[in-house]
């Protein structure tokens, strides 16, 4: 039998022109909304990196360069019923899905109280540091939603690096067998810290892996918001229709560092980077909108100023959140804590003078 890996999906070219014969997958209003989210992602990243340098923000992994991938995928979801299971580099996806940016920001600023947790009713799981561990969990979530007859789709994120973990395989295989309503969205940003895509796998395309689990895989230009959105919409549609999982490989580039402790100049390939800089996902949309006359310098400046003001507002609000309560670290470990843990909490309270 012949299994075809779809050729990489692309609609909007780096120069902002539509590919010959291609149709945009978003209407203009929706695209402007997408642009707004992408700008929020970028401006937020830039701002908090600054904060981190001042010691006011935790270790942070920016989405720089991956905005089309992050925003385009999440816009295919309905926050009311669908779920997001993130890795960690999809900040605006979970914000768009309902997790307030203030709360996330407060968390990064060290305020880990219950007030900053994912609010009830927001269908997002915690970000995952243990790479790929989120995938079997996402499959279980989708499975359970299906068993309960809920009309929900789960979108689970993974990186090119995380895809080498055994959990990736176990999760996709189980998802195929149980035909659960899930979309595996891989951001192949060419790097896992310093490890390049070429050392991560010899496969010509990660999307080929889907055939080994009995469902479709598709590779998209991850810097093209139309292509990302189109692939995601189609995968969500399949999942919702009961046709099972899809693996989307979104080919993009990590334009920033791995995280705020990293220095890519030790390992980055200048040419590759330059190539992707020319393919910047935001520039592409801006050029397109300009070519349609839907954006001019003035409107763009206004939009940026607006978004930037929102970022400032968010950070201020987060900074004003109450700080941690020391014995709060004992909360939410167990619902029915062992006596020994309760005793330790008493001991801690005694010596720290806070109850």
């Amino acid at each position: 039998m012949a299994i075809m890996a779809e050729t990489r999906l692309m609609t909007l070219q780096p120069d902002g022109k539509l590919l010959k014969g291609a149709r945009p997958s978003m209407d203009e209003e929706f695209l402007l909304d997408a642009l707004r989210w992408m700008l929020l992602s970028r401006l937020y990243d830039e701002k908090v990196i600054g904060l981190q340098r001042q010691g006011r923000f935790g270790v942070y992994s920016p989405g720089l360069g991956q905005e089309a991938s992050i925003v385009g995928s999440s816009m295919a979801l309905d926050p009311e019923r669908d779920w997001i299971v993130p890795q960690y580099r999809e900040l605006m996806a979970i914000v768009r899905h309902g997790y307030p940016l203030e709360k996330i920001t407060a968390t990064y600023m060290g305020k880990t109280t219950e007030a900053t947790r994912i609010p009830e009713g927001v269908n997002v799981l915690p970000t995952q540091v243990a790479l790929a561990a989120q995938l079997p969990q996402a499959v279980g979530l989708a499975w359970g939603l299906k068993l309960q007859g809920k009309d929900a789709v789960v979108m689970a994120y993974i990186g090119d690096g995380g895809s080498s973990e055994g959990d990736f395989h176990e999760a996709l295989n189980l998802a195929g067998v149980q035909k659960v309503p899930i979309v595996f969205f891989m951001q192949n940003n060419q790097w896992a810290i310093s490890t390049p895509r070429s050392l991560q796998s010899a496969t010509p395309s990660f999307s080929l892996r889907a055939a080994g689990y009995g469902f479709p895989g598709v590779e998209v230009d991850g810097n093209d918001i139309f292509a990302v959105y189109q692939a995601a919409v189609e995968a969500v549609r399949r999942a919702r229709a009961g046709d099972g999982p899809t693996l989307i490989e979104s080919v993009t580039y990590r334009m920033g560092f791995h995280n705020t402790t990293d220095n890519p100049s030790r390992y980055e390939d200048k040419e590759q980077r330059a190539d992707f800089e020319r393919r910047d996902p935001i520039d592409r949309v801006v050029r397109y909108l300009r070519s349609l006359g839907l954006l001019d310098e003035q409107r763009e400046d206004n939009l940026r100023a607006e978004v930037s003001a929102e970022v400032d507002r968010v950070i201020e609000a987060a900074a004003a959140e109450p700080g941690v309560r020391p014995d709060g670290m004992f909360d939410n470990v167990y619902e029915r804590p062992p006596a020994r843990v309760l005793k330790q909490r008493e001991q801690f309270r005694g010596s720290n003078g806070n109850a």
């Binding site: 979530l141 359970g144 067998v177 843990v341």
Partner: protein, 327 residues
């Protein structure tokens, strides 16, 4: 009417049946739990009763069994996952302690992980490599997971029901050597055995044996032999390692001033160490003799033909108890 008698397999099967009947959210998943009814038949008959969507033969991949169970729990199901043998929790290790055990904490209370992991373990039935490994202590180092070790059919049912209903994740270790060793009265219908309550399984004034799971049965035999030599051993069955019932433990040891801890895991860093350490701090002034531990040796579980030399034996327990009683 006489109360029904059940062995451990039957008690577990009965608990699962009743709980699946009572709570439609409960589902089983694992290797061969469906059509086969489990390699030890603990889940026998359940797929016929509740169907293949509630009793699921999964692909052969332990990490995904646990990871998926966590996701199922988040979705609102109540999964009871089986790991075919406790030794193969190693394949799922990163999904147990770091994920299942920490999920409530990681989500700051938004999500909980009401998952029960059932796993047979222990030597004495001539299993192949890895199948007998007693690795329970490794999970005690993973805060968030409760570690439950029933030693008899009655507790097996009551503690399994408690485990399934506990909103916290539970590792429920089944002593496979005891699966069909004997029957005892195990009532039909609902009852639970609470966690964190050790029990004095035998009274005795001369020395206190501390054990859990199949080692309790071993201690019973050792105590009978000791009694022939006029040494009366009390036996503490810890029942759960997390939560640990320090009070019962300390009182029972203080009563004799002498303690022998018995377990199937290798000596070093086995849970016996935690028991001894707890006593060395909290029962120090009541101790009249060094705390002895009788455990497997600090070597890999040997081939079946040698396991009786490896595991703690009645003779070794008796010898340690006599030495401790005389010290």
């Amino acid at each position: 009417m006489a109360m029904p008698e059940r062995n451990v397999v039957e008690a577990i099967n009965n608990a699962l049946t009743e709980e699946m009947e009572r709570d439609p959210r409960v589902m089983l998943l694992g290797l061969d739990v469906g059509r086969l009814g489990g390699v030890f038949r603990t889940t026998s008959g359940l797929i016929e009763k509740y169907g293949a969507s509630r009793v699921v033969d999964t692909p052969l991949a332990e990490a995904s069994i646990i990871g998926a169970s966590l996701g199922l729990a988040v979705s609102g199901m109540v999964p009871v996952a089986e790991i075919q043998f406790l030794g193969f929790t190693a394949q799922a290790f990163h999904q147990i302690g770091p994920q299942l055990g920490k999920y409530r904490h990681r989500s700051r209370g938004r999500y909980h992980a009401q998952v029960t992991i059932r796993a047979p373990f222990g030597g004495g039935i001539r299993s192949p490599e890895f199948h007998s490994d007693a690795v329970e202590a490794q999970f005690v180092q993973s805060p968030g997971i409760k570690v439950v070790m029933p030693s008899n059919p009655y507790d097996a049912k009551g503690m399994l029901l408690e485990a399934i209903r506990d909103p916290d994740p539970v590792l429920f270790c089944e002593p496979d050597r005891l699966y069909r060793l004997y029957r005892m009265e195990v009532p039909d219908g609902d009852y639970t055995v609470p966690f964190g309550k050790a029990v004095v399984a035998r009274e005795g004034k001369d020395v206190t044996l501390v054990a859990w799971s199949a080692a309790v049965e071993l201690c019973q035999r050792a105590a009978a032999k000791l009694a022939e030599e006029d040494i009366e051993a009390s036996i503490v069955d810890l029942r759960t390692l997390v939560p640990l019932d320090v009070e019962t433990l300390v009182n029972a040891v203080a009563a004799t001033g002498r303690c022998v801890i018995v377990h199937e895991a290798p000596l070093s860093a086995g849970f016996g160490a935690e028991v001894a350490a707890t006593l060395a701090e909290e029962a120090f002034y009541d101790l009249d003799a060094p705390i002895a531990r009788v455990a497997s040796w600090d070597i890999p579980f040997p081939p079946a033909s040698m396991e009786h030399w490896y595991l703690p034996s009645v003779d070794r327990v008796v010898e340690a108890a006599k030495r401790t009683a005389a010290a």
